[in-house]
Symmetry: C2
Subunit: 129 residues, 2 copies
Amino acid sequence: MNTGILVLGHGSTLPYNKELVEQVAETIAGYGNAVVRTAFLNINQPTLKQGLESFKGTGVDKIVALPIFLAHGVHTLEDIPRELNLNEDKKATIEIDGGMVELVYAEPFGADASIAELAYRRANEALSR
Amino acid sequence: MNTGILVLGHGSTLPYNKELVEQVAETIAGYGNAVVRTAFLNINQPTLKQGLESFKGTGVDKIVALPIFLAHGVHTLEDIPRELNLNEDKKATIEIDGGMVELVYAEPFGADASIAELAYRRANEALSR
């Protein structure tokens, strides 16, 4: 597996954001196609820098930074690109284990149909409680 | 249709959170089973109070407050319940058009399989760009 996925969360003083990010990472790791690590913008660890460093020794030659955010905002458009030193094309090249690794940046979820379906499911669960 | 769904967003200085919440609301309204309105915790309008008031004249007898949030945090556990005057059972009774309407509160998305699937799709889209 040469592809790394850095699953990026917002971070929270409460444990739930971190738990969600870790569970998403675990599920994606279970798909078996990538080396998966987590990182957090605020409060929780690993930080983004630590998250990138955690690919040392894994042999990845490309990493996707995958923001677990619903929509673009200041965090996804300014904070994360700044922390990852992304260029205007939302990419960067970083050095890991002495080799150059391409870093690309995924989009947030957006208004995908699956988001509306899940929201509607949550609404119906609340109605049946 | 006697059920109302108040689709609740975080709000943002950028337009994307509001757009996502409005698109989710539009999709859910398209299912045809509820009167759907939107509201925002911060920055954007309608506010939560305005959102509840927007069910006037619709004839709903039950409203679900549906947070468009990935995970529980201070916003979903403290801010929204306080703004909606929810009791310990995460419910409230409000008056609309002179009648009493039950308000219930849905859970955020959580680590549903569909969230991990969508995240993985976003990662692969970034890899193929």
